[in-house]
Amino acid sequence: MKRVAFNLMAWTIVLVTAFPLIWMVITSVKPQFELFRIPPTFWPEEITFEHYRRLLWETPFLTFMRNSLILSFSTTVLVVAVATLGAHSLVRFRYPGRERLAQLVLFTYLLPSVVLILPLYLMMVWLGVANSLLSLVIAYTSFALPYALWLLRSFMQGIPDDLESAALVDGATRMEAFFDVILPQALPGIISTSLFTFILSWNEYLYALVLVNTDSARPLTTGVMSMLVSSFNIEWSLLMAASVMMSVPLIIIFAVLQKYLTRGFGAGGVKG
């Protein structure tokens, strides 16, 4: 009885959470005339992929998609590469101010991002990369890196010192020890950090809005908004189709990585 009640509640929560997503998918395949019908229909009377066709071939959607993919992948690669080495250094090497450095890294989180936007924008202008994808990669790295560093640091702290020492004695150089022994052990941490960074860059809006204002360098978030939402009109059906397509890469990535994530977290405790 208790089980049934629990299940019922769980499913209610799932439905409430999922409803906007379901509505998004349904709306994206409804013909235009069905959108504003009163009373609204749940199941479309007629399924059309017209909105998707228009989105893909009559708008710069694919450019935005390409930008977003480049942006998110580069940010992820950069952040993970720097954070992995950085976290390793924070955990393994003794140098003055190491703890303080780790804390200072979190300092960026004390300031609301709106405060950082203008200095960052001026810096991009000064660097000569304003209004480009590169400026966004730099901006996203600046706020994804601290978190990634701390996340990976806690993962690396869980790797016994002796493993690296053993590799060194066995004849590996520091770099070899890092790649042969530390990296495979930190893999679950690296995967979750990548996931976090990717989602962050994929969904980011504010910086993209301020730092980039040409269509050729816009990512999906701001691109779709500026393209479909104007003061006079909101292209609901196209917006929904765009939203569906924006969710697809995340869903794919989650589907691929989830297995590694859970495997990574469970690996230590399971004797097999």
């Binding site: 002796d162 020492s165 053993a166 590799a167 060194l168 066995d170 004849g171 150089t173």
Partner: protein, 359 residues
């Protein structure tokens, strides 16, 4: 590719304010089995890690063979190390673990396989080569760690408390195997432990350390029979040596329960008399004491006495029927008495001649 000696010359290691090793001088002969023995924090592990190249000495010189290795990377020192935690690479199979040092040497795959097979046969690991470390028992993991050290026949083996994670029975077994291994390989072994039994049974010589300093470096028998100072006297032996502080005038040691005449030159006024529990003979003798606690262990009985206000531990035969509160007589083996300077704690070269009860 033979054994090499190891020399520490005035080696000092400080971590910021804390000094882990204070000017260590130690010369280990080629092919010798040396234990670094001491309580935790005595600097023995730091010493071993400096020898491995995992820590850098703050000052001083470390030599392996006739080569100064202060600036040599761990992998280039021709050493192998077994860690307390075994430090097996969890994502590699047993075979890959053992082959790793060879791989880093650039050995070809086929040759590596031959070597791994040789080691696996030696340590009876053949059936486990494709397993991952976490699928092995503690004893098996220990053998893999040994195998990984053995595979490249290094000049010096470093072992950091390798047996401390095993259960008592397996530990006794592995002790015998390590002695055997040392004998067949003829290589230098440097073995860190806090377990005196391991040090006593396996070593050619024991380096007893305390507080970052070497307290004595001698064969096990000598460390036991002629401890160089009060620390070594108290650290080696279970139960430890009894130490009775007393005065010393005209060659006579005086304590409320014990007096003894010694032939000695230049002894200070305050000394400590040392006597091992097995050299306290309960039954008859010139001294008197009261029984406090009786601990039968099966093959013998440990008796704690109160001798003139000082605690005194004795080994008695298992049959001895003693009860707390009993008044007993006891004698000390004169030739087995030790005398230490109460101030400097150093051993005094003294021989007891007569023993008697104090008035």
């Amino acid at each position: 590719m033979s054994a090499a000696g190891v020399t520490f010359t005035r080696v000092r290691k400080a971590f910021g304010e804390a000094v882990a090793v204070k000017g260590l001088d130690l010369a280990i002969r080629p092919g010798e089995f040396v234990s670094l023995l001491g309580p935790s924090g005595c600097g023995k592990t730091t010493t071993l890690r400096m020898l491995a190249g995992l820590e850098f000495p703050t000052s001083g010189e470390i030599m392996i063979g006739d080569r100064v290795v202060n600036d040599v990377a761990p992998g280039k020192r021709d050493i192998a190390m077994v860690f307390q935690s075994y430090a097996l690479y969890p994502h590699m199979t047993v075979g890959e673990n053992i082959a790793y040092p060879l791989k880093k040497q650039g050995m070809a795959k086929a040759e590596r396989a031959t070597q791994v097979a040789r080691i696996a046969a030696m340590l009876k690991l053949e059936a486990l080569l494709d397993r991952k470390p976490r699928q092995l028992s503690g004893g098996q993991q220990q053998r893999v760690a040994l195998g990984r050290a053995l595979v490249r026949s290094p000049k010096v083996f470093l072992l950091d408390e390798p047996l401390s994670n095993l259960d008592a029975k397996l530990r006794a077994h592995m002790r015998a195997e390590l002695i055997e291994l040392h004998r067949t390989l003829g290589r230098t072994f440097v073995y860190v432990t806090h377990d005196q039994l391991e040090a006593m049974t396996m070593s050619d010589r024991i380096a007893v350390m305390e507080g970052g300093e070497l307290r004595q470096f001698a064969p096990p028998r000598e460390v036991y029979d002629r401890p160089a100072n009060l620390f070594v006297a108290g650290f080696i032996g279970t139960p430890p040596m009894n130490t009775l502080p007393g005065g010393f005038t005209d060659g006579t040691f005086s304590h409320p329960a014990i007096t003894a005449r010694f032939t000695v030159t230049g002894a200070p006024a305050r000394v400590v008399l040392g006597v091992r529990p097995e050299d306290v003979l309960i039954g008859q003798g010139p001294h008197r004491a009261t029984v406090r606690v009786v601990e039968p262990t099966g093959h013998e009985t440990i008796v704690m006495l109160d001798a003139g206000g000082s605690p005194l531990t004795a080994r008695a035969p298992a049959e001895a029927s003693l009860n707390p509160g009993d008044a007993v007589s006891f004698a000390l083996r004169a030739e087995k008495l030790h005398l230490f300077d109460a101030e400097s704690q150093a051993r005094l070269d003294a021989r007891a001649v007569t023993l008697g009860e104090s008035e």
